[in-house]
Each structure stands twice: as C-alpha cells, then as structure tokens.
C-alpha cells in the first residue's frame, strides 16, 4: 500500500511541475547557480563518509545517452546518478539502433516509453538537446552539444573556483586557446557573467569567433593579457585545427610558443584550469599542469558533486531550501 501511495504522489507532482531542463547556461540565473553550488557543497560533505550512497533519487530513472566520445563527463554523470540511488542506463551510439539509421527523434520516443525522469545527452550536433526536450516528457540535461554548450562543465568550473579562491564575484578569468571550437568557453563566459566575474578570451585571431565580445567578455590575441587574471583557463588545442586547408595556426609548435601556458607566463598566486583532456606540451606545459596551482584534478572531483546537484535539483520541485538538501538522517 505504501508503495502505491508513493507512485500516485509522484504522478501528481510530475503533472503539476513545469518541466525544467538544463540545456544552456541561459536556463539558469544567479539564484539557481548559487543554489546548485550550495547543493554540490552539501553533497561533497556526504561523499566524505565511508558509505557514499544517498537514497535521494531512489526509484528514479536516468538515461545517459552518449552520442559523442566522452570519458569524464559520461562517467561522472553515471556515478552521480548512482551515488543518489537512481537507476541509470548508459547508452552509447555505437552498437545501438543509431547505427542502424534510426532518427534521433525516434530513439528518444523509444526511450521515453520507459518513462525516464532525466535524459542526459552528449551529442556532436548543436541543438540536439533542444530537439530531445521537444520530444520527451523527461527532464533533459545537456552534457555537451557540438560547439554550442556544456553547462555542467561551466558549473563545475564555478564550483572549483569558488572552493579554491573563496569567492566568484569580481574574479578575473582568462580563457586561453581555441575558443571558436569550444562549447566550454561559450558556457563558461555566460556562467561567469551570471556570478559577476569577468572574462577575457585570448587566442590566435582565427580561433576567436567574430563577434564573441558581444556575449560579454573581452577578446585579445595578446597572451600577456593573462597577467591580471586570477584564473588562467586553458582550452585544448586540437591537431585538426592545423590540418591542410584549415590553417587556423601555422603549426602546433608556433601555437605552443605564442599561446602555450608555461611557468614563466604565470605569476605567483594564479591558478590554472583545463577542461581536459590535456595535450601536455601543446597548450599547457607539464610543469604547469602538475603544479600546486593546477586545479585540473579538483575539476574532475567537482564534476561528480555538481552533476549530483543538477540531477537532484531538476527532480525536486523548484527552489529548495538548502538545509534539507541533504538530510543526513536519510542516509541509508
């Protein structure tokens, strides 16, 4: 009998709630960001316990759709769902009906028949998460769509900065490298604007998109401009960008010499971040990546708690007070 009541209750709340998604940083505001970061902090404390699993999302179903190769994002979403006791399925495009030519909309209709609560989507094509949100009754979380957005990466970056530096408002962040092909840069600039931090994007001229300053950052090709930054955020530089016919930069060697982050380019007190995977010796000197000022590993740890916070927040009704976010008495 008790179980029947639970199911009925769920059905009612689901019907009443406006469906929330996290597709772009534009789905957030200052208040929601604060709430998510605070929730993540609470979860982080819970992970210090020996028994790390929380019962919070027991009985919920989370589908993790991975249409683009991903190690850290896919694994961290899967672990986040498991830490919260949700049932999680991870489906990869290879070996699925996607390979047999099924359309994205049909795949989502099929999966929606299982009534998942959340669909987490990683896709090479821009706008795929929005198409999914139009098709499914589940909440949709964008785990990266082409060059468009990667909102949970931006949130975990904010969380990492706040933990390391104690505050976000007023921070100066220099994003260095291939901004043109980076969904991380797009999401992060917007997220930093939401928390009143400022950004400068620095890189080779052809890799800074025309008009990018209009989303709310400075742009420059002068690497010495990193000097005033509190955080130097290094983007991955891909070999493909210098393939014949592309010519975004003449060579990786020249890129490294002009925009690579070496110890001598940094001043004491600056911290360095990178969304991974890193190319040691190309965009970042190994001595920098492994230095005490590197937050690269902290970013990976933050990813888990921030994704727990995102899943939790979407599946609870609207703004929640922070106190009961993690009720330790609930811990099984």
């Amino acid at each position: 009998m008790a179980e029947i009541r639970v199911i009925a209750g769920d059905a009612q709340t689901a019907a009443a709630a406006p469906k929330r998604h996290l597709i772009s940083i534009e789905d957030l505001n200052h208040e929601i960001v604060e709430r998510l970061l605070a929730t993540a902090r609470n979860f982080s404390r819970s992970l210090e316990r020996e028994m790390k699993k929380l019962p919070t999302l027991r009985g919920r179903t989370i589908v993790n759709l991975v249409y683009e190769s991903s190690t850290r994002t896919a694994s961290s979403f899967e672990l986040a769902a498991k830490r919260l006791s949700a049932d999680v399925m991870t489906l990869r495009a290879s070996g699925s009906s996607v390979e047999k030519g099924e359309s994205l909309r049909d795949t989502i209709r099929t999966l929606t028949a299982y009534q998942p609560d959340v669909i987490v989507i990683r896709h090479v094509q821009i706008g795929a998460p929005k198409l999914i949100a139009e098709t499914t009754s589940a909440h949709v979380v964008n785990a990266g769509d082409g060059k468009h957005q990667h909102p949970t990466q931006a949130l975990l970056d904010l969380y990492t900065m706040q933990e390391a530096l104690g505050h976000l408002a007023g921070l100066q962040v220099a994003i260095v490298g291939d901004v043109l092909h980076s969904r991380v840069a797009r999401s992060l600039v917007q997220a930093l604007n939401l928390v009143d931090a400022s950004t400068i994007c620095i890189g080779p001229p052809a890799l800074i998109p025309r008009g990018f300053e209009q989303i709310g950052c400075e742009v420059s090709s002068d690497i010495s401009r990193i000097e005033t930054a509190d955080v130097v955020y290094v983007l991955r530089m891909q070999q493909e960008r210098i393939a014949a016919g592309e010519n975004f930069v003449p060579s990786l060697r020249e890129y490294s010499a002009r925009w690579g982050i070496s110890p001598k380019r940094l001043r004491p007190g600056q911290v360095v971040m990178h969304p991974g995977p890193i190319n040691r010796g190309v965009e970042i000197d190994p001595r920098v990546a492994d230095s005490p000022g590197s937050l690269i590993e902290a970013q990976v740890r933050s990813g888990l708690v921030v994704r727990m916070a995102v899943l939790y927040d979407l599946l609870t009704q609207g703004p929640v007070s922070l106190a009961p976010t993690v009720n330790m008495n609930e811990v099984a």
Binding site: S103, R105, Q125, I126, G127, A128, G146, Q149, G211, I215
Partner: protein, 440 residues
C-alpha cells in the same frame, strides 16, 4: 516558348468593384475588369448592378498583375516525394503566381535537351500555372564543362544556372558568359565562395559566435558577386544575381548598375523579413543558403528593393521531406518553402510596418522578375492576357501545414498569423486558384 502549362477553359467573366492596382501601367482605380476568353476586354467604372452576369464580387479587394517567381525548386525529376510539377504549380497558383521558373539541380540534372524536353512535356500535362525550366551552366553542376547551351536554348531553356552550386572557376564563368550571350538566354548565379563558406551553417556574427554554429560569412557571397560582376562587365554580357543576402553584395550591385553593367538581382522573402537572431530557436526551417543575415543586411536589402536596384522578389521555394528537416539544425538540409506565403509574408512584415509600399511590392513580385528573364510582363489593360491576382489585404490567416498545396511543409512561417490573402489567381487567362469565387 519558355512557359508551359496544361490546357483548360479560358475565363470569361467580370471582376467587379476591386481596387485595380497596376503601378507599372499607372492604374489605381475602382474598376470592373471584364475578361473574355482569357483576355482583358474592358475596364469600366463599377456598375451598381451587382450580380449582373457571371463574375466575382471583389469590393474591398485589390486586383493586381499576378506574380512571377524566377526561382523555384520543383524537385522533379528525382524527388517527387518532395514536390512535383503539379503540386509546386498548385502552390504557385495559391500564392498568386502566373509564372514560375524551376531550377535544374534535380536528379538527373537538367543539363541536356532530353531531360529538359521530358520536363516540358510533363508541364504541358500537369502544370497549373505556366512553368519554365532553367538548364544547368555546367554538366552535372560539376563546374567542369559547359552544357550544350545552344541546343538547350532551342529546346526551351528559360535561362542557365548551377543554382545550389556556385560556378567555382572564374575561367568557366567567363566562358559561360561568352557562350550564353550567343544563345539569347541569361545566366542566373548562385554567388558563393565555398572556400569561405566551407561548412557554414548560419551567418557569421555575434549569434553564430554564441551558438557555436559554424559561420558562413557575408564575404563568402560578396567576393563571388564581385568576381562575377567584374567578368560580366569585362565581357559586356547580362547577368542575374540570385538570392542576394548581404549589404556588401548590394553595394557591389549598386556600383555595377552605375557603371552600366547589365545586371538584375533578386531577394528572397526570408532574407527580407528575418535575421540571424531567429536561428537561436534551432528551427531547421530557418536554415537556408544563403543564410539569414544581420539586421543591417536586411535593411539594406529592403532599401535596394525599394530603389529597384534589386528588381525581383524570388522565393527560392525549396521543398524538403519532413524526415530530412526533423533533425538537429547542423545536419538539416538548406532550404525553405515560400510560394504560398511570399505575398502575405512581405505584406505583413514590410508593407504594414511601412518599410515598403504595396505598389513597389507588387512591381517587384511581377514586372521585375518578368523583365529580368524577358518573360511577358503581366499588365492590366485592354487586350492584355489575363494574369491577375485578387488580394484580400484585410484577411488574417494562420500558416498551417494542412493549408499547403506544396507536398512539403518546411516553411519558416509555420504557426504564424499573416495579413493579406490571395483570393483568386488567373494565369494565362485561366482561373487557377479561387474558382469558387466566380459565381454565375
């Protein structure tokens, strides 16, 4: 003969009490227009005896020369699931058109007289409005060898174009200009430097920077426009520029016109009504080539349309199958439909807000394109063949899939309310749309 349609009975009736508006002929008056055997036989003061004889009660409506669309994709042969000559010409009839020109980028390509001849025969069987066919500039649109333009012109090609593909080689472009001149047919050019547009999905600017969609810069068009205008000037041959989208292209066009280059140009309703801001929705029905540009480009296009530097509205009606558009923006094909919405879209977005006069819009949708391709110019005058559109400017209507005669529904206007509705179309003397309005 360039235009072909199926037969039918010629109209003989009177359209009573409409505001008859033919700006090119200097007509703007309340008149009864009498049509006998498909020819306008009398323009008279409105009679008070309503219901006298067979006719259309048109009080409160505007009667204008029917429209000419120089840029339509009928997808035949090869993709008859997307459009046929019958469905596309029915869509044209519903949009107020009395003539359309179809593009040759079909499968197989219209690059030889056999394919062209078969299309013409088919049009004589099923085209509701007079339809002409352009042939390719290069075999298979491959940009390597010229088509046999002489034979194609003889077989009835309306003009030559590689639309959908630019003519990449300047040398081939020059040869095409030289040779087409000897056939008496114009070249219509899709201007795009593919090395610059590359994998571009939308206009390169602040919106593409934010969305991360690959940019298709405005210079990818204008660099090609500049090249082709220079070649046309050098060879002293005529040229038609298709679907101009950028202010830089208009600037080049303006200079060329001043310099006496024989050039005409067209703009599409979507470029005149929308900007790249609309792409934020990721609606694949906002994806076309050239892409939606910035507001500044849009305003420059409207100015050029007003001045006549751009003398044609062309829909670039490009039907696509539902399943091909119902995918993420990046993988959707380029192209949107337009035949059934062009007038209402432009009336709603340009005329009603005061950006363009109704008179100018009517000219650019009818006489402008007809002149550009040496087609008969629809006129309202005694002795003229009846090519007429009756417009209800007060009517509001919703753009809905079910309304379309086109087999495809990839319209950028779906779900929108528009003002201005086509009530009746007469093409080459035959009622092709709105026959129920004619009462005995």
């Amino acid at each position: 003969m360039i235009l072909h349609s199926k037969g039918g009975s010629s109209a003989s009736f009177t359209i009573r009490g409409a505001r008859v508006l033919d700006p090119g002929a200097g007509v703007d008056a309340l008149l009864d227009v009498k049509i006998e055997k498909g020819v306008i036989s009398e323009l008279a003061q409105p009679s008070n005896r309503s219901g006298a004889g067979k006719g259309v009660a048109a009080e409160g409506l505007v009667l204008a020369p029917a429209f000419v669309d120089p840029h339509v994709h009928l997808r035949t042969p090869g993709r008859e699931d997307e459009e046929t000559i019958a469905s596309g010409s029915a869509a044209a009839a519903a949009g107020g058109y009395c003539a359309i020109l179809a593009m040759p980028n079909t499968s197989p390509t219209v690059d030889n007289a056999a394919v062209l001849g078969a299309l013409i025969e088919q049009a004589q069987e099923e085209a509701k409005v007079p339809t002409g066919f352009m042939a390719a500039i290069s075999r298979g649109l491959a940009g390597q060898e010229l088509t046999e333009m002489g034979e194609l012109a003889g077989a009835g090609a309306a003009a030559f174009t590689d639309d959908g593909q630019p003519v990449r080689s300047a040398a081939l472009m020059r040869r095409a200009l030289q040779y087409a001149g000897s056939t008496g047919r114009h070249l219509a050019l899709h201007c795009e430097d593919r090395a610059l547009s590359q994998h571009g999905q939308m206009h390169e600017g602040a919106v593409s920077a934010e969305l991360g969609l690959a940019g298709y810069p405005s210079v990818a068009e204008s660099v090609a426009v500049g090249r082709d205008l220079a070649l046309a000037a050098y060879e002293d041959q005529p040229l038609h520029l298709m679907h101009l989208s950028t202010s830089e292209s208009v600037e080049l066009l303006r200079h060329a016109l001043v310099d006496g280059v024989q050039v005409s140009a067209e703009a599409a309703p979507h470029h005149l009504c929308l900007t790249d801001e609309a792409v934020r929705s990721f609606d694949s029905n906002l994806k076309m080539n050239p892409p939606l540009r910035a507001e500044r480009d849009r305003l420059v296009l409207i100015e050029a349309l007003k001045s006549g530097e751009i003398s044609c509205v062309a829909t670039d009606h490009a039907p696509h199958a539902r399943q091909e558009k119902d995918v993420p923006f990046e993988v959707a094909p380029f192209g949107v439909t337009g035949l059934e919405t062009a007038f209402a879209a432009l009336y709603t977005h340009l005329v009603e807000p005061g950006l363009l006069s109704l008179e100018t819009l009517l000219e650019r949708m009818s006489a402008g394109p007809a002149h550009a391709f040496d087609l008969p110019v629809p006129r309202i005058g005694v002795g003229e063949p009846a090519n007429l559109v009756l417009l209800d400017l007060e009517a509001s209507w919703m753009v809905q899939e079910e309304r379309f005669r086109s087999l495809s529904t990839n319209s950028w206007l779906l779900g929108q309310a528009l003002r201005g509705e086509v009530a009746l179309t007469i093409a080459a003397g035959r009622v092709v749309f709105g026959a129920e309005r004619v009462v005995a």
